[in-house]
Symmetry: C2
Subunit: 129 residues, 2 copies
Amino acid sequence: MTVKFNNRDPVYVQVIQHFKEQIAKGYFEPGQEIPSRRELANQLKINPNTAQRAYKEMGEQGLIFTEGNMPSCITKDEAVLKSVREELIIEAVDLFLGSIKSIDVPLSEVLEIVKKKHDAESGEAEGSK
Amino acid sequence: MTVKFNNRDPVYVQVIQHFKEQIAKGYFEPGQEIPSRRELANQLKINPNTAQRAYKEMGEQGLIFTEGNMPSCITKDEAVLKSVREELIIEAVDLFLGSIKSIDVPLSEVLEIVKKKHDAESGEAEGSK
DNA sequence: TTTCGTGTATTAAGCACTTAATACAGTTTG
DNA sequence: CAAACTGTATTAAGTGCTTAATACACGAAA
């Protein structure tokens, strides 16, 4: 497990974001065990308390659960898991539309750029394929 | 002049962002005077030093210039003004594509949502028109 | 039982941003 | 000239958030 952190957002927020993305991609089974706070801290080279804070918030959001001193697990509620993906998409779309709106760019103009950039990226990602 | 601040980003960064958006919209003429540090601080209900910091960075970025003790002005370099709009667009697109990529959402799927949301927003914005 | 690994809680330290209080030089205006 | 406005600079204090350092309770396992 590896995460590239930026210096802009709090680390614990980025950790939560990372887990949400993993969930959105379907990398986790419902009820699956996740690394302990200390183990995650070692893997990501962060402080155990930072990992703790991330897990604590994920617990409050219902993304993970903890019983007694057992390792924490991904929620078994598949509706929650599904909604994570939808919420991330909505977030991205709203942020995007907000930015576009704030500079009065016609949607058609920017969508052209989006498609162009997307094709360029996926092209270089596949290499000489 | 009014700006709605969020509690997430530094105020001086949001002030710069606000000016860039105004420039991108073409609200400023090249060479146009802008409010003094103290006046802007009064208008936006912020500390004069915060306004100063924003203006200082905008000066370093070539967005505004100051001669002697004259009021600061928007740059006369129209190429710079034009590039502001383009950079904001590129920023928005890159951020958007990055978010989409991190959760493996097909472009076609998300573009549908974008169009749908955009139509809904512009619809309610125009009211009973 | 002892040891180790869980989760959890408390307290302190560090850091960036904001605000504040001044100060100074120059120009315009009354 | 004097007052009031520009921009600019320095220094310090305060504030909130993040991170760090510890400690504690519990349970499983050697």
